[in-house]
Amino acid sequence: MIYREKGLFLQTLHPAATCAFTGGVVLLALVINHPLYLAALLVVCLAALAGLHALRSGAGLFLFCLPVVVLLLLINPLVAPHGTTVLWRGPFLPGLGSLTVSLEAVGFACGMALRLLAVLAAFLVYSAALNPDRVFNLFAGRAPRAAVIFLLALRVYPALLRDYARIREAQTARGVDFDAGSVVSRLASRMLVARGMLATSLERALEIAESMYARGFGSGPRTVYFTESWRPRDGLVLAGVLVAVTAGLLASLSGRAVYNYYPVLDPVFRWEALVPLGVLIPALLTPALLQWGWNRWLWLRSKI
């Protein structure tokens, strides 16, 4: 998903606040394995995406990842021999042994799928909320060359997508059928597009480099044009993230947010797990709630 300026409140957050939010969600999704927590992380990201009017464009990427999720759900139960509640016992396969599908393995696959979706949703929030130029600016003072490379990579990506569509169309007009023939011939057809893209990219890279050189890039120490201001809204989001991460990590360390999939599934709803969740969800909903309030109350706008 490519960043689009929509003039939304969530797009005005300080890059550090946005990075803290997405980083916090990813950290919690990687540390905690409790399905309720993972589902909660997914929900707060979806709420932020709704605030960014990016649910529809994000849905496309979710669909793109669906095969991976389906594979996870299909393969893990078949290859994980753990779990006591056997749902289906299959034939003996050489190398894999006898196939069994257990409820616990299915539950574990669901948990991992939730984790994958939560991380993906966090990245979607990042893409929809943060102008790449502002990220560039954040690092421009300290690592100017790396920042420019980062910026160029961001600019080149949509250009590559356009190149692909154009070159594929041109090759079709030359009689190349990308959907006909064996897998090998299809791959060969796509290699043609790749060759064209490589040549076009190299030409573009040379021209961009020439333009940068002509504009004095690399001629000495750079200064920075933009500065980011830290506002109350950024403080609120950061505070929410800190509270959520602290609650999540404490819950994980104390075992409240640890979920055992094997040998039998733990009960999902346990009071000791729900209490930290009651802190984590509202804290991580801060950006979405602020966006909601921003749209309704002028008073709030003047304060944050």
Binding site: Y3, R4, E5, N131, P132, D133, F136, A140, V148, L151, L152, L154, R155, P158, A159, D163, R166, I167, E169, A170, Q171, T172, A173, R174, G175, V176, D177, F178, A180, L192, R195, G196, A199, T200, E203, R204, E207, I208, A209, E210, S211, M212, Y213, A214, R215, G216, F217, G218, S219, G220, P221, R222, T223, V224, Y225, F226, T227
Partner: protein, 551 residues
């Protein structure tokens, strides 16, 4: 006073077969507007790069002679000083933009110069306001039109306050409206701020009159150097096509002081109007209705996440004719051609090509009968040699080996047989891509903006090639902004507007009385005579000139 002095400049690119610049001696005065013209590969861009200090610093190669700006040797300047001294704007804005928003793009060069924040803010605001880009300050650059993007590139160069501004074919990728607006901005810069401008251009009709002086380069050497009218006369005397249509018409008809603009040309024509003359024949003289080879019927098409490109569009393509498709950007020209090539399928309505509905056909299989050449010929080329490209097409399209040799003969590509297509000029690439499509022996040829980036000589060659193909019985459809090219070579025209056909018929009928969709010559002759092409105009003028002299 000379701001730029070039003495005996010689340059050869690394691995270059010959010198790109040879014995150039040139002066550019402060505040001067210098126009550099000439054929592709004639050394124009190399001269621009040399002026910007990019030769040999960025490209390497063999450099000889002296190049001074404001009394200082460009080669001795530090990169930062060089960027402050000469600014350059290249052809394609897409390949110059670094940042994602307008303001950041303009600030990029200033950050490189290490300026303070207050100074940067002042310069950015000033240049954005002067160029009328203030309202686009926060706009993402990819959402801008080509003309606006090129103006952002100009703003980025201007913000660095260079002594000299070099522009290397800055309008070659723009539509006529964008190009006109951009050149008007250059005129303002020159007149209101006194900026010294070196403009390298192919679209002579739009900028010839802006220049104080014109330099014609060919083979890396200065062929002509002087005021625009004198250079036009010199070019015509040498049989070179590098003059605007209006000026060329009068210079060829023997006028000592050829006009540079349509307005001045009309004044002269009015004076000659009463003299007896001849009726023009004209390229547009049709020869009765032709049986259609393709038909678009009530077609609607919407791009995913995009606008409605075709709206209830109906048109029949006359067989065996050379047809021009006119229309502003977004009018649906490319979309119409892609529908005829089977690359796009209509959302509603039908497209029938050579008797078959395109929805029932595989576009790759259609390629043998219908050839589509898109705007960027580079997208077709990936082989190591020109011969390899054509042989690849032959294998893909399943035709006899003799087809490749026939295309080599038809297009005169023999000398490029072993050349790498990526090393060729824009015109040569265009011809090779066309050749790759012609190998299949298509009955219909669809070309999208084929004259983009071509110099006048290459346009003539392309026009003749298309006429040859038409003479073989092929139908040629050309979507173009280049009305002068269409007026000279096409017989019929269709005008698209908002995805619909707004006009259709023989070319003279379409051009008659048209203000915007008319050739330079047609505009000059509007209300005087139905003349649209340079040859017709020259005949008209010569006849009246003779008659006036006889009286």
């Amino acid at each position: 006073m000379a701001l730029v002095e070039i003495e005996n400049l010689n340059y050869r690119y690394p691995g270059g077969r010959g010198p790109a610049l040879s014995g150039i001696n040139l002066r550019v005065d402060e505040g001067e507007f210098l126009l550099v013209i000439g054929p592709s590969g004639g050394g124009k861009s190399s001269l621009g790069r040399a002026l910007a200090g990019l030769l040999p610093r960025f490209h390497g190669g063999f450099f000889g002679g002296r190049l001074r700006c404001a009394g200082r040797d460009l080669g001795a300047l530090q990169p930062r000083e060089l960027a402050r001294t000469v600014g350059i704007v290249f052809q394609d804005p897409e390949k110059q933009l670094i940042a994602t928003t307008v303001e950041r793009e303009v600030a990029f060069g200033l950050e490189n110069l290490g300026l303070g924040r207050a100074e940067m803010r002042r310069r950015v605001a000033e240049v954005l306001d002067f160029l009328g880009l203030g309202h686009l300050r926060d706009s993402p650059v990819h959402t801008l039109s080509g003309g606006q993007q090129q103006k952002v590139c100009l703003a980025a160069a201007l913000a660095m306050r260079p002594r000299v501004l070099v522009l290397d074919e800055p309008t070659s990728q723009l539509d006529p409206g964008g190009a006109e607006d951009f050149l008007h901005t250059l005129r303002r810069l020159n007149e209101e701020l006194g900026t010294t401008i070196v403009l390298i251009e192919h679209r002579l009709e739009r900028c010839f009159h802006l220049a104080d002086r014109v330099v014609l380069l060919d083979g890396g050497k200065v062929l002509l150097d002087g005021p625009p009218a004198a250079v036009a006369r010199g070019a015509v005397a040498r049989g070179l096509p590098f003059v605007p249509a209006v000026t060329g018409v009068f210079a060829r008809a023997g006028f000592a002081e050829p006009p540079l603009t349509v307005r001045d040309g009309r004044r002269l024509l009015r004076a000659l109007e009463s003299a007896p003359g001849v009726s023009p024949g004209g390229a547009g003289a049709g020869s009765g209705p032709a049986a259609p080879v393709a038909a678009v019927k009530k077609v609607w098409y919407v791009y995913p996440d995009g606008p409605e490109a075709l709206r209830d569009c109906s048109w029949q393509v006359p067989g065996g004719r050379l047809v021009a498709v006119f229309g502003a950007n977004g009018a649906g020209k490319s979309t119409l051609l892609k529908h005829l090539a089977g690359l796009l399928r209509p959302n509603r309505g039908t497209v029938t090509v050579l008797g078959r509905d395109t929805r029932a056909q595989n576009p790759a299989r259609m390629a043998r009968r219908v050839a589509f050449l898109a705007q960027n010929p580079g997208d077709y080329l990936f082989g190591d040699t020109v011969a390899g490209e054509l042989k690849f097409s032959r294998r893909r399209l399943g035709v006899q080996p003799g087809a490749v040799e026939a295309v080599f003969r038809l297009l005169g590509l023999d000398r490029l047989r072993d050349a790498n297509p990526r090393d060729l000029s824009v015109g040569e690439r265009q011809l090779v891509a066309l050749g790759a499509l012609l190998v299949g022996g298509p009955e219909i040829l669809l070309l999208d903006e084929p004259t983009r980036g071509l110099d006048p000589a290459w346009k003539q060659r392309l026009g003749r090639t298309l006429k040859d193909l038409q003479a073989q019985g092929k139908t040629v459809v050309v979507a173009t902004h280049d009305i002068d090219f269409a007026a000279e070579w096409a017989e019929e025209a269709v005008v698209l507007s908002g995805g619909r056909v707004a006009g259709n018929g023989a070319l003279p009928e379409v051009l008659e009385g048209a203000l915007y969709y008319n050739s330079q010559v047609g505009r000059m002759f509007a209300g005087i005579a139905p003349v649209y092409t340079v040859p017709d105009a020259v005949r008209w003028l010569e006849a009246r000139h003779r008659a006036a002299a006889a009286r």
